[in-house]
């Protein structure tokens, strides 16, 4: 390779590999990104069966049931009028309780959301931004009632 061409060749290879990275990333993101849905979205049929997603809302008070094996729980996630049944096998995070906000990772299966993971809140002060608006509205509603 002549020195003059060498720099040109290197530049072309570098650009080609950056382009390759972009294309690979776009291809990978097309069906591997998990969308965030609320029960209303699920009721409207926006969440495709079997596709990785996140579900967020409130754990409906009185809906939490424990199965006989002691490690599987079922509950309803609610937002406004819509409800989605959730099944989860595992240890729930410390701040998971009825009436509080929850974000779960998993997929829809026969009308039930099967959660692989329930995301932990790291401390009392922390609220996932994805739930931020809903939680604020919820709090405001409570204050109004009082």
């Amino acid at each position: 390779m002549k020195p003059k061409n060498q720099r040109l060749i290197l530049v072309v290879i570098a650009l080609a590999s950056v382009l390759a990275a972009v294309l690979l990333a776009m291809w990978g993101l097309k069906d591997r990104a998990a969308y965030f849905y609320t029960p209303a979205d699920v009721a409207a049929g926006r969440a495709a069966e079997g596709k990785a997603m996140r579900l967020g809302g409130m754990v409906q008070p009185g809906s939490l049931r424990r199965e006989a094996d002691g490690v599987t729980i079922r509950f309803l996630v609610a937002d406004g009028d819509a409800r989605t049944p959730v099944a989860y096998r595992g240890i729930v995070p410390d701040l998971f309780r009825e009436g509080s906000g929850v974000v779960a990772e998993g997929r829809m299966s026969d009308g039930t959301f099967v959660a692989d993971n329930i995301l932990a809140k790291h401390d009392e002060r922390y609220m996932p931004p994805q739930l931020g608006n809903q939680a604020a509205e919820h709090k405001a509603g409570k204050t109004l009632k009082q």
């Binding site: 690979l24 990333a25 591997r32």
Partner: protein
């Protein structure tokens, strides 16, 4: 008074950084240099004093935290009298403002060291680099003083502080953030040197040699910080995983990927004088990634244990700084790169080519991680849709490319500079046999494992022996220490990959609710729940399970806990982990089910410790390379 002294030191340091920038501009334009005023000397002096002032400010912050001075807002919001001393000290950077002060302190300190140490570099380039460093510091001082003042007072002072997030109350907090920040911000010097050299046009081997120790040092610290952070998340979160592709983890991985590429290309620049423009580009990208990481973590747009506060004005401020510095650096690059002299040419099969391949593959991985991490932000800004990108994307897209890169690591060090004439097949016979054996054994013995872990095992078996080939047939005492360092680091890559592959292929997990006296099986182990009892610590209470694990020979006792903290009120899971040569037994205590049973989650993770051992070996290799070169330089100077 102490807080005010800290604040004064910060303001003074900010003023000095402005002075440093202005003096540099004046000096480079030869405005006021005369017999009586040596601007270059003045600039070095200013940089050193500025570094000392930031250290002073940081020391003041640690003092108010140790004294738990609750009239300082930051202390009141994040500390508590009844906290062990180590967390009072480390708590100083366990929050937004304190961690930004640590960041800026490292920036100022690095500038001071640059002013004191780099004597081999051309004077003009060094001064231009110090000016760039002053310019960088100025922006971040402004951010601290205007948007994140760590020394703000609270009036009236509360009677007690709100305490530190219990997840952070761990010895990891004393080690992980400072190490990572030293690495992150250490890269600022490479950035400033690149800016300086592009301004003066002196991109040459001397610049490569001046830049290399900074890159090596920052990279070693980043490697250690990431490895420590991974192990911390592994045992503290109780999820049994060691890497979650969390945006915050990616924020530390991206500078590391760029620094790894830079480390290899700066070596080409230092020893051959080639890859000039490319190395300057990487030096800029590396610190830009540090700033992107800081923006992601500190702006509060991400949800994680690292994002302490959500305040939109801070995010905007950081984004503006990021845009300014990255934009200015790349504009300079675009203006000056055509004027750089071409380096010496090399053939297609040569060590230079291998390092170019290393750089390109690392850049592709960096691009994939970068897009995956920022994609949710783009989509939300564009369409309002909320989404997250996790392991399925990163593992499938970046994983294979990382393994291709690791496979090439075996070949690169065997090649000669400029042109390789010898065929390599003979040398690589043994590694090829190892790889073939790993493939055959894994196919016959464990046909059910996934393709990615299997490929990982094969690549590890190929790279482990190959990485030691550069040491072969040499007198070990006369082999340069840097060569030992390279071999050890590359061997560490193989060790880490082996650990990751074995962990993902052979981990066994068991989740069940059991009564005291009952037994669970996981992998080769039988684990019996003896009982559950209360326990007490310095600022927490806990319930503690006693587990007895056996596999025929002897009994292990493990005591996983659920801890309750009152300031702030939080529960945390403390996993109990037993480390053996063959692997780790990892146990987590869950919730009672109300009928006398307790949830237990158990993992048997064979050889999982290889992951962090590999990380430590990689860092050790870098450290040896750094020490070896420093020692050689010192001897040369002494005996020249």
């Amino acid at each position: 008074m102490i807080a005010e002294a800290g604040l004064a030191a910060l303001w003074l340091a900010a003023a000095l950084s402005l002075l440093q920038l202005l003096l540099t501009v004046g000096h480079l334009r030869a405005l006021f240099d005369s017999e009586r005023f040596d601007a270059a000397r003045a600039i070095r002096g200013v940089a050193i004093v500025q570094g000392a002032l930031t250290l002073t400010a940081f020391a003041m912050l640690v003092i108010v935290f140790v004294r738990t001075d609750l009239s300082v807002a930051l202390v009141a919001a994040n500390s508590h009298n009844a906290k062990p001393l180590i967390y009072k000290i480390a708590g100083a950077w366990g929050n937004h403002e304190g961690s930004m002060l640590l960041w800026v302190t490292v920036l100022g300190f690095a500038g001071a060291v640059l002013a004191m140490a780099s004597r081999r570099l051309g004077q003009r380039t060094l001064i231009a680099a110090l000016g760039a460093q002053g310019g960088l510091a100025l922006g971040f001082y402004a951010f601290l003083l205007l948007a994140s003042n760590p020394f703000a007072r609270l009036d009236p002072a509360p009677l007690e502080g709100r305490g530190l997030n219990p997840l952070l109350q761990d010895p990891g907090l004393a080690f992980h953030p400072p190490t990572l920040y030293l690495g992150y911000v250490g890269l600022s010097v490479a950035f400033s040197l690149a800016v300086g050299a592009l301004i003066t046009g002196e991109v040459d081997r001397a610049l490569g040699r001046a830049m290399r120790p900074w890159v090596l040092g920052a990279w070693v610290l980043l490697t250690l910080g990431i490895t420590a952070g991974s192990y911390w998340a592994y045992y503290e979160l109780g999820w049994g995983g060691w890497w979650f592709w969390d945006p915050v983890e990616n924020a530390s991985l991206m500078p590391w990927l760029a620094a790894t590429a830079l480390l290899h290309s700066v070596t080409v620049l230092a020893s051959r004088g080639a890859l000039r423009a490319w190395t300057m580009m990487l030096a800029m990208i590396a610190f830009s990634m540090s700033m992107v990481g800081t923006f992601l973590v500190r702006s509060g747009i991400l949800t994680s244990v690292h994002s302490f506060a959500v305040d939109p004005s801070r995010g905007t401020f950081l984004l503006a700084l990021l845009g300014l510095y990255v934009g200015a650096a790349f504009a300079l690059f675009a203006l000056r790169t055509a004027r750089l002299k071409e380096g010496p040419p090399f053939e297609l099969v040569s060590r230079e080519s291998a390092l170019v391949a290393n750089n390109l593959l690392l850049t592709v991985i960096l691009g994939i991680v970068f897009f995956g991490t920022l994609y949710p932000l783009f989509v939300e800004a564009a369409t309002g849709d909320k989404l997250s990108v996790g392991p399925p994307y990163f593992n499938t897209v970046a994983g294979p490319i990382a393994l291709i890169l690791a496979a090439l690591v075996a070949v690169g060090p065997l090649l000669s500079w400029r042109r390789e004439a010898r065929p390599l097949f003979k040398q690589l016979t043994v590694p090829a046999l190892f790889a073939a054996t790993a493939l055959a054994v894994s196919l016959f013995a464990t046909p059910q494992i996934g393709w990615l872990p299997r490929l990982g095992l094969v690549v590890a078996a190929w790279l482990a022996p190959a990485s030691l080939l550069p040491l072969l047939r040499r007198n070990p005492w006369r082999t340069p220490i840097a060569t030992w360092g390279m071999a050890i680091a590359h061997f560490g890559v193989a060790v880490a990959i082996a650990g990751m592959a074995v962990d993902s292929a052979f981990t066994r997990e068991k989740l069940a609710a059991v009564r005291p006296g009952e037994t669970l099986g996981v992998g080769p182990w039988l684990v019996r729940l003896q009982g559950v009892t209360p326990a007490v610590g310095p600022n927490w209470t806990a319930i503690e399970a006693e587990l007895r694990a056996s596999r025929g020979d002897g009994v292990l006792v493990l005591k996983p806990q659920t801890r309750f903290f009152t300031d702030p009120p939080t529960e945390t899971n403390e996993a109990a982990i037993d480390t053996m040569l063959r692997g780790q037994l990892y146990t987590v205590l869950g919730k009672p089910d109300g009928e006398g049973r307790w949830q237990l989650r158990l993992w048997w993770k064979p050889f999982v410790t290889l992951i962090w051992l590999g990380g430590a070996l990689i860092a050790l290799g870098g450290l040896l390379a750094l020490a070896g070169r420093a020692w050689r330089g010192w001897r040369k100077e002494r005996f020249a």
